[in-house]
């Protein structure tokens, strides 16, 4: 359970988000949408305790994340980012194993059976067992993205935050990852995922949080959000809507008339 109480976020001297108020329950999959620079990444980092909030409070299962020690926090919340990093001579399994860090005391260096099981499960969940022993540096961008997701899964936290996890992925893998995230939320995890693709968000998420104008504009089920004009206002474009056979709504950027 994540609770945002009047959260304000600054980047340098600039107020990025103000008065963000929301609750995300266990077992819920929330997609965060917003234009570039709206604060999606910063909000996720703040929930993970990696960006200081300027006002309000962020509660993880009822406890303010600033009151949690770094290890305790990393046992409650995992953050998956796609940020590039140069990794020499480190295997995929080696990378994912680092996700077990918060489950060890500082003197516990040896890999435990529980670690091996968790790492194996994480590798399997994103279907990268086959190249677990390859060097990370030899992987494609999409494969790397799956490794970062596996790293977050290896932490085995009740809250999983992902910053654009489907960027670099082809549509099949993207579908598999979002399906996986959905199934993870159904096992009781809170999953919060920043996305760019509105229809991806609508297809998989229980609710969509829309950031814009320096605040949380709305947090609502996809149907509600996509049918209103808020989404167009946020991105500053006109959209066409179609209804799929199952009755679900999808939006598309209106093509310029001939």
């Amino acid at each position: 359970m994540i609770e945002l109480r009047d959260v304000g976020l600054r980047v340098g001297n600039r107020l990025l988000l103000d008065n963000v108020r929301a609750q995300i329950a266990s077992g819920e999959f929330v997609a965060v949408l917003g234009a570039n620079g709206a604060g999606k990444t910063t909000l996720l980092r703040a929930i993970a305790g990696l960006h200081a909030i300027s006002s309000g409070a962020i509660l993880l299962d009822g406890v303010s994340n600033t009151q949690l020690g770094s290890l305790e926090r990393a046992r409650r919340v995992a953050l998956v980012t796609g940020e590039e990093v140069v990794l020499d001579a480190l295997s995929v399994r080696g990378v994912v194993s680092i996700g077990r860090f918060p489950h060890h005391r500082w003197w516990q260096w040896r890999t435990q059976t529980t670690d091996e099981v968790a790492v194996g499960r994480a590798l399997g969940a994103v279907r990268i067992e086959d190249f677990a022993d390859r060097f990370f540096a030899t992987l494609s961008a999409g494969e790397r993205q799956r490794v970062w997701i596996a790293l977050g899964l290896a932490q085995e936290t009740p809250i999983l935050l992902l910053d654009e996890p489907t960027s670099h992925l082809d549509i099949r893998i993207a579908h598999e990852i979002l399906t996986l995230l959905r199934s993870l939320s159904q096992t009781g995890k809170s999953v919060v995922c920043a996305l760019h693709d509105i229809n991806e968000a609508a297809a998989y998420a229980d609710r969509i949080a829309l950031l814009g104008e320096g605040r949380l504009l709305a947090i609502a089920p996809p149907e509600t959000l996509l049918s209103g004009s808020l989404i167009e206002r946020t991105y500053g474009i006109t959209m066409d809507r179609i209804r799929l056979d199952g009755g679900r709504l999808r939006v598309f950027v209106r093509e310029p008339s001939e």
Binding site: A78, T81, W109
Partner: protein, 330 residues
């Protein structure tokens, strides 16, 4: 697991072999049997006992401490800053120690006082660099590198100035000899003075192993998996400064070990800090002991400065390691 045990055995053998070879080198020829006899009976009297216990063994231990300290320090700083070109002297420890010692020698300070002066100045410089590199509760890697390099340049200029001003005296040659690195005349006394600091540095390094491991995936992700990066940075910086200052006091400026050995060790055991740091200690110790033995032998009865020898070996080794394609490209 079997591979780890084999590598550990190989490294331990390497250190013992280097030590044994170094004990054979000296002005007075001693047969291996005499050396073994002297080692087995530390309290016996006799020339070979004095040579082994008062001259060669302390020298081997000093060289091993210097090599191990520098290699460990280099591995930690490279890991923390995620920069393979960083060496133990980055934090300004050596340059400040050199400047302080040069000034002390020029002012006529006694030879006994100079190591202490160098140690204090080295640690003070590390603190200054750390203060300049501070960002929030932690350290900004780029600022650390910039502050370290800038202050080192300033201290190097001070050394040059002192040497130029003192050119007519023999102080200048004392300073230059110190800058070239040497373990001549170092023994149990110096080792005993430095050992506690090096030991604290080593213990802090052990604490830093898990965070160093996690830092391989970048600072942000390391924070996300629960590493207290700020604390880890301070501990690593403290450990590195203590180790670098200890080695500077024992041997002056010994280049390349802190830069090259972590690369060699990485090729051998990978980048997992649990294997990397012990491997650096072993390879650094063995390399420094061997290099010191060669320095004593090559132009006997004079001694070649170890810094000069290591640069001659270190530069080709460095180029080879860097120009060779990495393991994952094969």
């Amino acid at each position: 697991m079997a591979k780890h045990a084999a590598v550990a055995l190989l490294l331990i053998s390497l250190v013992l072999l280097a030590g044994a070879l170094a004990l054979l080198v000296g002005g007075t020829p001693l047969a291996p049997a005499q050396i073994a006899e002297a080692l087995a009976h530390p309290h016996a009297t006799g020339t070979s006992n004095v040579i082994i216990w008062e001259l060669r063994l302390p020298r081997v231990c000093v060289a091993a401490t210097v090599g191990a300290s520098l290699a460990l320090c280099g591995a930690m700083l490279q890991g923390m800053l995620r920069n393979p070109l960083v060496d133990p002297y980055l934090t300004g420890v050596s340059a400040a120690a050199a400047a302080a010692i040069a000034i002390a020698i020029a002012l006529g300070a006694s030879a006994a006082a100079t190591p202490g002066i160098g140690f204090v100045a080295g640690l003070a410089a590390a603190l200054l660099v750390a203060a300049l590199a501070r960002r929030g509760g932690g350290i900004d890697p780029n600022r650390l590198i910039l502050a370290g390099v800038s202050l080192s340049t300033l201290f190097a200029a001070i050394v040059t100035l002192v040497v130029v001003r003192m050119q007519s005296s023999n102080y200048a040659s004392t300073i230059v000899a110190w800058l070239a690195g040497s373990m001549a005349g170092r023994g149990w006394h110096e080792l005993a003075v430095v050992a506690p600091y090096a030991l604290v540095g080593g213990l802090l390094a052990i604490w830093a192993i898990p965070p160093l491991d996690a830092l391989r995936i970048g600072e942000l992700r390391a924070r996300a998996v629960g590493v207290n990066v700020d604390r880890a940075q301070w501990v690593i910086l403290a450990a590195s400064s203590l180790l670098a200052a200890s080695s500077v006091v024992l041997a002056g400026l010994v280049g390349f070990i802190g830069l090259i050995v972590p690369h060699l060790a990485r090729r051998l055991v990978g980048s997992d800090a649990r294997s990397l740091l012990p491997a650096c200690v072993a390879i650094g110790a063995a390399l420094c002991v061997l290099a010191d033995a060669v320095c004593r032998r090559i132009v006997a009865p004079a001694e070649l400065p170890i810094g000069v020898l290591l640069a001659f070996i270190g530069v080709p080794a460095f180029l080879y390691l860097y120009l060779r394609p990495p393991a994952h490209a094969n």
